[in-house]
C-alpha cells in the first residue's frame, strides 16, 4: 500500500509517501525512526494487522515546516529519512 501523508495548500503540495509493502519486512530495522531529527515517524499496526511506519498525525499538517531543516536549502544533499530507508519506501513530493 502507498500511504501519502501531508497536504496541499496555497503554497504547494507536501506529501511523504510510504510504500508499506517495503516496510512490513524492513531490512533497515525501521532506521527512519531515529534518522528523522524531528522524530516524525513511528511504527504502528495498520488496519490489515501489518507492522508499518507512518508519519505522526500532528506532523501531517506541518510537513513543509518540519522537513525544511533537512532540505537542500538547509545544507543537506539528501534527506536523512530517505537515506536511512534503504528499502526505498520513503519519498517526498517536494
Amino acid at each position: 500500500m502507498i500511504a501519502n501523508y501531508g497536504y496541499k495548500d496555497g503554497s504547494g503540495e507536501y506529501y511523504i509517501s510510504i510504500d508499506t509493502d517495503k516496510c512490513i519486512s524492513c531490512s533497515a530495522g525501521h532506521a527512519c525512526l531515529t534518522a528523522c531529527p524531528k522524530s516524525m515517524f513511528e511504527t504502528i499496526t495498520d488496519d490489515y494487522d501489518d507492522e508499518v511506519t507512518w508519519v505522526k498525525k500532528p506532523n501531517c499538517r506541518t510537513l513543509a515546516y518540519d522537513c525544511a531543516d533537512c532540505k537542500p536549502s538547509a545544507g543537506y544533499t539528501s534527506l536523512p529519512c530517505m537515506t536511512a530507508c534503504t528499502p526505498g519506501a520513503i519519498k517526498h513530493s517536494w
Binding site: 502507498i2 495548500d9 490489515y48
Partner: protein, 300 residues
C-alpha cells in the same frame, strides 16, 4: 447605554445547511434468524452513522448529525437504528468504530481507520470493479485506490482545511439562504458556464461569494462557481494518486449533482451509481470488517 433586545423580536434562524437525517431498515430481512450481527459506527466530524450488517448483508442504518461529544453521538446513532428494529446492544456480536471519533466509541470491539472502511464499504456498494474512491467528508477529503476485495492499495488524505468538504457546502448554503439539497440542481440553472471562485478556502470563498453577489451575479451563478471550485480542488487531489476506471464517490457531497457532474466532466469518467446512501460507506465498511473478524472468531 445597552439596548435591550427582546427574544420575540429576533428574526427566526433558519438552518439552510441542515441535511436530511435518515433511519432505514430492510424489512425483507429478519435479524432474529441471523447467525452473525455486526455493527459499524462512523463518528465523523459532521455526521455519524450506525450500520447493522446481518450475515454479511446490509440490514439497516441511521445517519445523523454528530453532536458535541463522540461517545454520545455513537450511542445515539446506534440507538436510532436499534429502536427501529427492536434490537438490543447484546444482540450484536461485534462492533467496529471508525471515523475521527473511532477511539471514543465506548462499546466498540475494534477501531479501524475510515480509509480502510470507506474502501471496504465502496466495494460492497459498487461491486468488485471499484478501484478509485473519492470520499468527500464533512471536514476532510480522501482519495483511495483499492483492489477487487476492497483492500486499500494507495491513499491520500487532506484534512488541513475544510475546502472541498461538506462543511464548506453547508457554509455556502447558509450564506445563500438556500436549502443544501437544492444547491446542486440550482448550480445548473444558469445561462452560461462560470469561472470557479478563485479560493476554495471556506472563509475566503465566503467573502468572494458575497463580492460576486454585489457585482450582480445571481445566487445560482455563485453556487455554480463554488461547485466548480470544489470540483477542481478534489480533482487535483485525485490526480496526485491517479484515477482508474471504477470510480466511486462516498460521503455527503456524493449527493450533490452540482459537484459530482463537474468532477466527472473534469476527469472524463462517470462515477458509479449505487442505490445505497453514499454517506454510510464508512460505517458499512466497518460493519463488514466486523463480520469478517467475528466469522474468524467463530471458526476458531
Amino acid at each position: 447605554m445597552n439596548a435591550e433586545v427582546k427574544a420575540d423580536t429576533l428574526p427566526e434562524k433558519k438552518e439552510f445547511w441542515r441535511w436530511q437525517e435518515n433511519v432505514w431498515i430492510d424489512e425483507t430481512k429478519d435479524w432474529k434468524t441471523a447467525k452473525i450481527i455486526t455493527c459499524g459506527i462512523d463518528v465523523g466530524s459532521v455526521s455519524s452513522q450506525a450500520v447493522l450488517v446481518v450475515d454479511g448483508e446490509l440490514y439497516g442504518f441511521n445517519s445523523m448529525r454528530t453532536g458535541n461529544n463522540s461517545p454520545d453521538s455513537a450511542k445515539n446513532a446506534l440507538q436510532g437504528v436499534m429502536d427501529k428494529c427492536g434490537m438490543k446492544l447484546e444482540d450484536i456480536h461485534f462492533v467496529v468504530g471508525t471515523g475521527y471519533g473511532r477511539v471514543n466509541v465506548p462499546f466498540a470491539h475494534k477501531a479501524i481507520t475510515e480509509i480502510a472502511c470507506h474502501a471496504r464499504g465502496a466495494n460492497y456498494m459498487g461491486g468488485n470493479g471499484v478501484r478509485t474512491i473519492l470520499d468527500m467528508g464533512g471536514q476532510d477529503c480522501k482519495a483511495i485506490h483499492c483492489d477487487d476485495k476492497g483492500k486499500v492499495t494507495n491513499f491520500l488524505m487532506n484534512d488541513k482545511c475544510a475546502a472541498g468538504t461538506g462543511r464548506g457546502m453547508e457554509v455556502i448554503s447558509d450564506l445563500m439562504q438556500i436549502p443544501i439539497a437544492e444547491l446542486g440542481p440550482r448550480s445548473f440553472d444558469i445561462d452560461s458556464d462560470v469561472e470557479a471562485v478563485s479560493s476554495v478556502c471556506v472563509v475566503f470563498a465566503k467573502s468572494e461569494a458575497l463580492g460576486l453577489l454585489k457585482a450582480g451575479y445571481t445566487k445560482n451563478k455563485v453556487i455554480a462557481a463554488y461547485c466548480q471550485a470544489m470540483a477542481e480542488r478534489v480533482v487535483s487531489l485525485l490526480e496526485r494518486i491517479g484515477v482508474e476506471e471504477g470510480f466511486f464517490i462516498t460521503g455527503g457531497i456524493a449527493k450533490n449533482p452540482g459537484v459530482v457532474k463537474r468532477i466527472e466532466k473534469l476527469l472524463g469518467i462517470k462515477a458509479m451509481d449505487t442505490k445505497i446512501d453514499s454517506q454510510i460507506a464508512g460505517a458499512l465498511g466497518a460493519a463488514l470488517f466486523g463480520y469478517t473478524l467475528q466469522s474468524k472468531k467463530a471458526a476458531a
